[in-house]
């Protein structure tokens, strides 16, 4: 039985035994969220925040200590869940003795996908591996392996893409190409679960963001909600010879200017002030 949500995670806890006899470390603490159909959900957190652990529980690579994850309403790792899934792991690696084209052929065979070499070459071209189709993977750079990993994830035109730091180690042009492909796939109807350190990347592609800190969800919401629905302005003025600034909600802007002028402080500038995702992320994780 399946439901409409590509991913549902409920009260997920995953603990690791650091050393025999010692207390366990909870890498993920009571994490709950839902990825809705057609959504791009960003998963943010510093190193060791529990992003990859959560993703691996969703993929069935790790067994949760408690709580549960469902993919299309099915247990992670079940054939029905895997059939509609594409996965780009962090630092992907494949058998070095194969070429990109061979690997695509083998994966197609394992998935029971119809397709010809022409289809796979087009796919490799789409991810920027044109001309490298027959080269053994041992001669591929990290970036090329990531591109191949994306091609393998896209091969079955999945309804759900799970991307774990997909652009780590890529150059800015490749990152842009990756972002474009993510948006194209989303436009096709794919739901996307994206983990990334790159706040600008998350900001530019995600509809909704979850911020994880020390294994727990500390902030969640749409980008609009997180970046503050409330618009603010920064007002610069002179108090005697000293330049000062004050940030006020837009609704209070005129009143503030009037108040400053009333006190005899000349207003030297007014700027619209934007709250960045970085500020939101830092304030959420520092807290």
């Amino acid at each position: 039985m399946t439901d409409g949500s590509p991913i549902v995670v409920e009260h997920l806890v995953r603990a690791f035994q650091i050393k025999a006899g010692l207390a366990r470390l909870e890498a993920v603490k009571d994490v709950s969220f839902r990825l809705e159909q057609g959504e791009i959900l960003g998963f943010l957190g510093h190193n060791g925040a529990g992003k990859t652990t959560t993703m691996k529980c969703v993929l069935g690579l790790l067994h949760p200590t408690s709580g549960r994850a469902r993919v299309w309403g099915l247990p992670p790792g079940s054939p029905g869940a895997r059939a509609r899934l594409g996965y780009v792991p962090e630092n992907p690696d494949y058998d070095q003795s194969f070429s990109s084209l061979e690997l695509l052929r083998v994966f197609a065979g394992m998935r029971g996908l119809p397709g010809t070499d022409t289809d796979w070459k087009k796919l490799l071209e789409r991810v920027g591996l044109r001309g490298w189709e027959t080269m053994r993977l041992k001669n591929h750079s990290k970036g090329m392996r990531q591109r191949l990993s994306l091609a393998l994830a896209l091969q079955s035109k999945p309804g759900l893409l799970v991307l774990d730091e997909p652009t780590g180690g890529l150059d800015p042009i490749a990152r842009k190409e990756f972002r474009d492909i993510i948006l194209e796939e989303n436009a096709r109807g794919a739901s996307i679960f994206l983990s990334s350190h790159l706040l600008s990347e998350v900001e530019s592609v995600c509809n909704r963001v979850i911020i994880l800190n020390r294994g727990a969800v500390v902030r969640t919401g749409t980008l609009q909600e997180l970046l503050g629905g409330e618009e603010t302005h920064r007002v610069s003025y002179l108090e005697g010879q000293t330049a000062k600034e004050v940030t006020v909600p837009s609704i209070e802007l005129q009143g503030t200017i009037d108040m400053l002028r009333g006190k005899g402080f000349p207003v030297t500038g007014v700027e619209r002030s934007w709250k960045s995702l970085e500020e939101v992320f830092l304030s959420a994780t520092e807290a």
Binding site: L62, P79, R82, L85, D95, F98, V106, M110, L152, A153
Partner: protein
């Protein structure tokens, strides 16, 4: 099953591209050639000697091949993280295990068949009569090889390759022992040792080199039963391996 077959062919190609199976095969063939060079007093004696030691050498080759092919497969996949994209999407865990096993089993069987063909060539060159049962004997060695391969797979899911080698070798040695020899290991607890021996595999059923070397006939039913026993024990070891693998986290 299509996923398993495609993955087993992928494993087969991967292993053929490695040096390990070729190195072991070369070693076995060189050992056979060396055995054939040992002088003997008569042609009849030399025939028995070459057959007996040749088949023993090929059986040892099956053990070394099992360890050389499979001991590092899963640990390498785990360390290089090549197992994750496979198990996360196109394959389930049983398909991964069975695909890897079948690929390695095909390479091992090919190497053992080539070794036995090498033994036949040596016998022919020496002008020694080739026993009719040499092919069934080869099939029995292949059965034993698959059982050993499944054992190596089982250990590989919870031990490192350096530990896998001695564990498999110990099981190989114990599985060759008769009940009496096994009980003699701990004479104070004969019943316990007898019970334990019943649980352990009986690899002695795979050995027909002595009757073969001495020109005795072996009943076809014996071959069939021995191969069936080998396949059953292989399936049992693979089931144990799957139970361990299913419980494992892929960090």
């Amino acid at each position: 099953m299509r996923g398993v077959l495609v993955f087993s062919v992928m494993t087969l190609r991967m292993l053929f591209r490695k040096r390990t199976p070729w190195g072991i095969l070369t070693g076995v063939l060189l050992a056979l050639f060396a055995i054939a060079q040992v002088p003997s007093f008569s042609v009849g004696n030399q025939g028995r000697f070459i057959l007996d030691f040749g088949l023993f050498g090929i059986e040892l080759g099956a053990l070394v091949l099992a360890m050389g092919l499979a001991a590092n497969l899963f640990p390498h996949d785990r360390e290089q993280r090549t197992v994750m994209p496979l198990v996360a999407v196109p394959l389930s865990r049983w398909q991964y295990l069975l695909g890897r096993f079948l690929g390695a089993a095909m390479v091992q069987a090919s190497a053992l068949l080539v070794s036995c063909a090498g033994l036949v060539v040596i016998l022919l060159i020496r002008g020694i009569r080739v026993p009719e049962d040499i092919f069934p004997a080869t099939i029995l060695i292949v059965s034993e090889g698959w059982f050993l391969l499944a054992t190596v797979f089982f250990f590989s899911f919870f031990t490192s390759p350096p530990l896998n080698w001695p564990l498999t070798t110990i099981l190989f040695v114990l599985s060759q022992m008769s009940v009496r020899d096994f009980v003699d290991l701990v004479p104070a607890s004969p019943d316990l040792m007898r019970g334990l021996r019943l649980l352990l595999p009986h690899a002695d059923v795979f050995h027909i080199k002595d009757p073969l070397a001495h020109g005795f006939d072996v009943a076809p039913q014996f071959f069939a039963l021995a191969v069936f026993y080998g396949l059953c024990y292989t399936a049992f070891m693979l089931s144990l391996a799957l139970a361990v693998f299913r419980g494992r986290d892929l960090k």
